[in-house]
Symmetry: C2
Subunit: 333 residues, 2 copies
């Protein structure tokens, strides 16, 4: 294992300390238990949005905390769900009196721990509403989930849900918008290489020099199939073919196309894949109205990508375009 | 070689096509010869800023084209200098009548080809002034340079030089500001893994499972020494020790600290290293007033990082903070 770290046990905490020092104008980082809140929070009268998950998926979720973004993010240990007490403290710190939405990616541990935290928060008179995303079309159940996994679609889901809260929507309305994104976004990913969790020191799986895993999970858990590496055009056709068929997306649909790097894939390959994806969608009459390309939901140093497609309507487009000012996303302000 | 590509010979061109489709509001991409200009260019009466270099260092330089950024970027083939005709066409397309600054990273091929292009442009009555950056403290001469290499310091150098042009400075003033950045920025990098140029298909060098290269070049060319992998704190102390000693930076200096990923290093390690760097600098009384952490000048999928330190004054700080709206950097607008 070759990594720029000091101690496998303190990787997540030291990276959080780095974030605290790097973005003091945006973030307040709390330790023991660990969570991240807006430096200017809580926002009185605004619906608060809280999310989280295992570390190792940076910039998720701390990178999305700030005006127009999340009110709080709760990082677990690497590839490990945050604990109920972390989530509870973050929920209390984020609450501005208008209720709290928990954005939960569909992993069994996350579902359970967010549920427990929500019950504890309700006992303290904070209204909490969960919304769960399960956008991965690759597999029905997985090592870590009952049902589909929550993967790259989480990024536009965060952006749009948070924008609805930022413009002043009430709890019901924010939840409705958030569920509309879930209903309209689909994702599928692939990997060329595994990643290594610092604490284990061993690669999460083994791929031969000419193999890739299609439908990979973000923890390196198995996907749909292991095949020989093919061309970017063929990889994209496999991923987007499944994505388009699933919703289904249809000719005339207006979409946001998101090519996400898994952490170790260079920008040049992501933009090349984006070009392949545009050709694939153009051939099917699917319009790409908005774009995101980059490392926005990673799996440590894994090489690979996921492709997400979100069917837009005017309101979702407007909320996507709304200002955001966070470490990982910043526009319009 | 495992990459998300179609054909090793068309990687750079297909990625450019992807950028053209991804950022139509910001960029106009020209082919044969290849270069990228501002969608709203040329800007009449503004000093134009043009840079470039080999592809494979994304988001350099196309990612920095746009308002508050470069007027044009010229990408060569992967790890290959752009040709004089590319640079000439980009220079002519960027020229707004107030002169053009060529921002050249110190590599022999780049220096020669930008010089030739400048002569050809001058023959067409465009005033061109080159500024060269050579911020790498690792080695005196290298495989690809006479003198020091131009590395990560190029990113704050771009930002600040372009901001001076954007606020309306004349050619002399922009050049003076640009040279002031060069005089005050120093960088050193390291790598845990090599990268593979698509056309060659072979890793640029070989490192054993427990080795790292200190003072690496951005093309994988040798650095200062090959040593056993140590802790993040020790790696940072080596890089920043050389950086601080070189200028030298002194107690009381106000700086911009830039931890740059080489492409394959995850965000969690970059922020952990940033934390180590802050401790190192705090111990020496060096203030960090501005921060940049991320993959801003890569070497394909290489795992590793460089650390740059720029001594700020009030004007450089103001120009760093000025609005920019490009694919890779966006703030204040």
């Amino acid at each position: 294992m070759k990594k720029i770290i000091n101690d496998p046990g303190t990787v997540a905490a030291e990276a959080l300390q780095g974030m605290a020092l790097a973005y003091p104008d945006l973030l307040t980082v709390h330790f023991d238990p660990n969570y991240v809140t807006r430096a200017d929070g809580p926002q009185k009268g605004k619906v608060a949005i809280v999310s989280g998950g295992g570390s190792g998926h940076e910039p998720l979720a701390g990178g999305y905390v700030g005006p127009g973004g999340l009110d709080a993010a709760v990082p677990g240990a690497v590839f490990t769900s945050p604990t109920p007490d972390q989530i509870l403290d973050a929920t209390k710190a984020a609450d501005g009196g208008a209720g709290v939405v928990h954005l939960v990616l569909n992993y069994t541990g996350d579902i359970l721990n967010f549920e427990t935290a929500a019950e504890l928060a309700e006992a303290e008179d904070i209204e909490v509403r969960p919304v769960v995303i399960d956008d991965d079309v690759a597999v029905k159940d997985s090592t870590y989930t009952a049902g589909r996994r929550g993967v790259g679609g989480a990024i536009p889901w965060y952006k749009i849900t948070c924008a609805a809260a930022a413009r002043g929507d009430d709890l019901d309305s924010v939840v409705a918008i958030s569920k509309r994104v879930v209903a309209n976004v689909r994702t599928m990913g692939m990997a060329l290489t595994p990643c290594t969790v610092p604490h284990s020191g061993e690669p999460s799986f083994v791929l031969e020099d000419d193999e890739m895993e299609i439908g990979i999970g973000v923890h390196g858990e198995p996907g749909r199939e292991r095949v020989k590496v093919t061309s970017a055009d063929e990889i994209v056709a496999t991923l987007l073919g499944n994505v388009v068929e699933d919703l289904p997306f249809e000719s005339g649909d207006r979409t946001l196309l998101f090519v996400n790097g898994m952490g170790g894939t260079p920008s040049i390959e992501l933009h090349l894949a984006y070009n392949s994806a545009r050709k694939f969608l153009a051939d099917r009459g699917i319009e790409v109205a908005r774009t995101l390309v980059g490392n926005y939901f990673t799996s440590l140093e894994m090489q690979g990508m996921s492709i997400s497609l979100l069917r837009l309507d005017d309101e979702l487009t407007e909320l996507w375009d709304a200002p955001i000012h966070t470490p990982a996303m910043r526009w319009g302000v």
